[in-house]
C-alpha cells in the first residue's frame, strides 16, 4: 500500500492521579497504553470498544486536543506528537472532528452562519465569493436549507444539528475527519440519515474517516477496517469483512456475540451461542499484568499473566489481520454456550 495519511506508533496517554498539597503523583489512569495503527487515504477506520477502553482519548490524541504521554503521531509526513498550538493551527485545516453530542458542540448564542463560517475566519481563509456563499453551499451539501443561515441551533432538531456540525467540519476541506460517536445521540431513523450522509460525503470529497463508536453494527456498516480496543490497547485490527467473519481475539468474539439481533426466531439459538463475559472491565489505573483481557477470558493460561501478547499477524490469517492474543480463537472452535467463571474483582 501507499504511504499512510496518519500513522500512530506506541501512542500513550496517562492521566496522573495526584494527592496532597504538592500534587504528588500517586498513580496514573492508563487510558491509552501503547497502540499502533495506520490510516490510509480514502478509507474509514472504525475504532470500537466499550466505555473506558480509550477510544475517545485516542481520537483526542490524534487530533491533538490532548497531549500524548508517549509514542509518535505522524500526519502526512509531519511528526505532530508534541508540536505546540501555533504549529498545529495550519494543520487543523486538514484534520477535523465531529462530536457526539450535537447539543453541546454548537454554541447556542451563535447563528448557524457564524458557526459554520468560523473555520474560515479563524484560519484567515479568503473565499472567492465571500464566506456567506460558502456557508450556504456547505449547508446545501449536508442537506440543510441554505436560507436557515441566520437561525440559532435551538431551532433545529438533533439530526439537523449534527448536520450543522458536519458542515462546520467540512468547511476547510479537511483530509482526515475524526468522528467520535457521530450518531449515538440520534434517533434510529435519523442515525441512518447521518450514516448515509457521511458515506456520500466521503465518496464525493474523497475524505478519510476515523470513526469511533461503541455500536458494532454501525461500525461494520461504515468502516473499511476495524480496530477493537480493550483497556487502552488494540486487541485486534483487520479488514472489516475479515474481522466480522473470522474474529480471532476472544474479546472480539464475546463482543460480537453480545450484540442483540433483530430476529425473534433466533432468540434461543442466540442465547446458546452467546459467550457471556462475567464481571466488569478492570480498572485502567492498575490493569492486569500480561494480557489485559485475561481476567475475563475463558482461554487464559499461565503465560497470559506473565507475557503481554504482541499485536501481530497470525499464520493463516489474511494480510493485515493482527491479533494480540496467545491463544487466538480458530474458525471452527467450540466457544458457544460456554460461561466464563467469575473472575476476581480488580
Amino acid at each position: 500500500m501507499t504511504e499512510p495519511l496518519l500513522s500512530v506508533r506506541d501512542l500513550r496517554k496517562h492521566f496522573p492521579i495526584t494527592k496532597g498539597l504538592f500534587k504528588r503523583q500517586v498513580a496514573a489512569v492508563r487510558a491509552v497504553d501503547g497502540i499502533d495503527f495506520d490510516v490510509y487515504k480514502g478509507e474509514t477506520l472504525g475504532l470500537v470498544g466499550e466505555s473506558g477502553c480509550g477510544k475517545s482519548t485516542t481520537g483526542r490524541l490524534i487530533t491533538r486536543l490532548a497531549e500524548p504521554t508517549g509514542g509518535r503521531i505522524v500526519f502526512e509526513g509531519h511528526d505532530i506528537t508534541h508540536i505546540g498550538q501555533g504549529a498545529m493551527r495550519p494543520l487543523r485545516r486538514d484534520m477535523q472532528m465531529i462530536f457526539q453530542d450535537p447539543y453541546s458542540s454548537l454554541n447556542p448564542r451563535h447563528t448557524v452562519g457564524s458557526i459554520v463560517g468560523a473555520p474560515f475566519r479563524i484560519q484567515g481563509v479568503r473565499t472567492e465569493r465571500g464566506i456567506k456563499r460558502e456557508v450556504q453551499d456547505l449547508l446545501t451539501l449536508v442537506g440543510l436549507n441554505p436560507e436557515h443561515y441566520n437561525r440559532y441551533p435551538h431551532e433545529f432538531s438533533g439530526g439537523q444539528r449534527q448536520r450543522i456540525g458536519i458542515a462546520r467540519t467540512l468547511a476547510l476541506k479537511p483530509k482526515l475527519i475524526v468522528a467520535d460517536e457521530p450518531v449515538s445521540a440520534l434517533d434510529v431513523s435519523i442515525q441512518a440519515q447521518v450514516v448515509n450522509l457521511l458515506e456520500d460525503l466521503q465518496e464525493e470529497l474523497g475524505l478519510t474517516y476515523v470513526v469511533i463508536a461503541h455500536d458494532l453494527s454501525v461500525v461494520r456498516h461504515i468502516s473499511d477496517r476495524v480496530a477493537v480496543m480493550y483497556l487502552g490497547k488494540i486487541v485486534e485490527i483487520a479488514d472489516r469483512d475479515n474481522l466480522y467473519a473470522h474474529p480471532r481475539h476472544p474479546y472480539t468474539v464475546a463482543l460480537m456475540s453480545a450484540v442483540p439481533v433483530p430476529d425473534p426466531r433466533r432468540r434461543a439459538a442466540k442465547r446458546r451461542e452467546r459467550v457471556l463475559l462475567t464481571g466488569d472491565v478492570p480498572s485502567p489505573i492498575d490493569p492486569p499484568s500480561g494480557c489485559r483481557f485475561r481476567t475475563r477470558c475463558w482461554k487464559a493460561q499461565d503465560v497470559c499473566a506473565t507475557e503481554e501478547p504482541p499485536l501481530v499477524e497470525r499464520p493463516g490469517d489474511m494480510a493485515g489481520h493482527q491479533t494480540a492474543c496467545h491463544f487466538p480463537v480458530a474458525d471452527d472452535e467450540e466457544v458457544a454456550g460456554r460461561r466464563v467463571p467469575t473472575p476476581r474483582a480488580g
Binding site: V188, A192, M256, V261, P262, L276
Partner: protein, 345 residues
C-alpha cells in the same frame, strides 16, 4: 383478589400536557392488554410517548400539569380513576419500574441495601433485620457477588451493570405482578447489556410477572418481547407478535425502522434505508395520518393520508395496523419491494 385475565388492560389512554405553546398530546388514544408471564415491547423514537405511557401506568403523572383520561386496569383497579393513596400502595407492590439510568434513579446518600429495605418495609410489616436479609437475598438472586458484603455499599461503589442489577433487585423486592423497564440497557455496554437481558428473562420466568420493555432498540425487543407495540406520535401504529412484526410488518414506519438499522446477522448492505424527515412536534401533530409527511407510500392513499386519521384495524390474527393502504397492497409492497431491499447485501 384473583386477578382477572388479561392482567393489565389499557383502554383509550390519553395523556396531554397543557403548555404555553399549546397542548402536547404525548399519548393520544392508546389501547393494549397484557397477561402475566408475557413480555410486551414498546418501540418508538424519542417523543413517541412510550415513557409517558409507562409513567401513566405507574400513576406518576402530576394531575396539576397532566390531563390523563381513559382506563388503566391493573388487576381490576383503574389507576386513572383511583385516588392517589390507593395508587401509592399499589406502586412497588403490584407494579414496579426499572429506570434507564440507575445512577440518577438511586439516592447517592443511602446504601443500596437501605434503599431496598425501605422499599420492602413500605409494603411489608417486617423488622429491619428481616428486610435486610431479604435485600441480601434479592441482591444475590440478581447476580451480585458477595451480596452480604455489597449490601452496605453506596451506589457509586457499584459499576454500571451492577447498579442496574441492584435496581432490578429493588424493583422485584415486593414481587410485583407488573414490571416496566424503560430503556433498561441503553446506558450499558453491549457485553453488560447481554448479561442484563439474560437476567431479566430468567427472573421473569421465575416470578411470572408481566413485563413491559420500552426501548428504541429493535434488537433488544427481538431478544425479550413476545408482543410488540410500535408507537408514533402518541399512537399505536402497529401491534402484533414479535415474529409478525419482524417478519411481516405492515406499517411503513415499521419498515422504516427496520431499514434504518444495520444488522450484524446479515451481509453488509450498500446503503441504509432511512425514514425521510424528522419526528413531528407533538403540539402540531400533522393532520390525518401523523406519519404521512415522512411516508413514501402516502401518494398511494389518494389524499386520504393528509386528511383522515387512519383507524387501528386488524390485518391478521392479533395483528393491528393503523394505515390507509389496503391490506393486500401493504402485503404486496412488503414482499415485493421492502423485504428484498432489506435483505439485499
Amino acid at each position: 383478589m384473583p386477578a382477572p385475565d388479561p392482567f393489565l388492560q389499557v383502554r383509550d389512554l390519553r395523556i396531554h400536557f397543557p403548555t404555553d405553546d399549546g397542548l402536547v398530546k404525548s399519548v393520544d388514544g392508546l389501547s393494549f392488554s397484557l397477561r402475566r408471564g408475557r413480555t410486551l415491547g414498546i418501540v418508538g423514537e424519542s417523543g413517541s410517548g412510550k415513557s409517558v405511557t409507562s409513567l401513566g401506568i405507574l400513576g406518576l403523572h402530576n394531575r396539576r400539569n397532566a390531563q390523563v383520561s381513559g382506563e388503566i386496569l391493573l388487576g381490576g383497579t383503574d389507576i386513572v380513576a383511583a385516588d392517589p393513596e390507593t395508587v401509592r400502595r399499589m406502586r412497588g407492590r403490584r407494579m414496579a419500574m426499572i429506570f434507564q439510568d440507575p445512577l440518577s434513579a438511586m439516592h447517592p446518600y443511602y446504601t443500596v441495601g437501605a434503599q431496598i429495605v425501605e422499599a420492602y418495609r413500605v409494603h411489608n410489616n417486617v423488622s429491619k433485620a428481616v428486610a435486610r436479609k431479604h435485600a441480601i437475598d434479592m441482591l444475590g438472586r440478581v447476580g451480585i457477588p458477595q451480596a452480604a458484603r455489597r449490601v452496605d455499599d453506596y451506589p457509586h461503589q457499584f459499576s454500571g451493570g451492577m447498579r442496574q442489577r441492584a435496581m432490578i433487585a429493588m424493583a422485584l423486592s415486593c414481587d410485583p405482578e407488573l414490571l416496566i423497564a424503560d430503556e433498561p440497557t441503553t446506558a450499558l455496554d453491549v457485553t453488560v447489556q447481554a448479561q442484563i437481558l439474560d437476567l431479566m428473562r430468567d427472573l421473569q420466568e421465575e416470578f411470572d410477572s408481566a413485563l413491559i420493555i420500552i426501548t428504541h432498540d429493535l434488537g433488544v425487543v427481538a431478544e425479550l418481547a413476545d408482543d410488540v407495540l410500535v408507537m408514533y406520535a402518541g399512537k399505536c401504529v402497529e401491534y402484533g407478535s414479535a415474529i409478525t412484526i419482524f417478519e411481516e410488518p405492515q406499517h411503513p414506519y415499521t419498515w422504516g425502522l427496520l431499514g434504518s438499522m444495520p444488522r450484524l446477522d446479515r451481509g453488509v448492505t450498500k446503503r441504509l434505508l432511512p425514514i425521510a424527515g424528522t419526528p413531528p412536534s407533538l403540539i402540531q401533530v400533522p393532520a390525518g395520518c401523523a406519519f404521512h409527511p415522512r411516508c413514501g407510500y402516502e401518494p398511494l392513499t389518494g389524499g386520504l393520508g393528509a386528511s383522515t386519521v387512519p383507524e387501528l384495524v386488524e390485518a391478521g390474527r392479533g395483528h393491528l395496523v393503523r394505515c390507509h393502504l389496503p391490506a393486500d397492497e401493504r402485503r404486496r409492497i412488503w414482499v415485493e419491494r421492502v423485504r428484498p431491499e432489506l435483505e439485499a447485501s
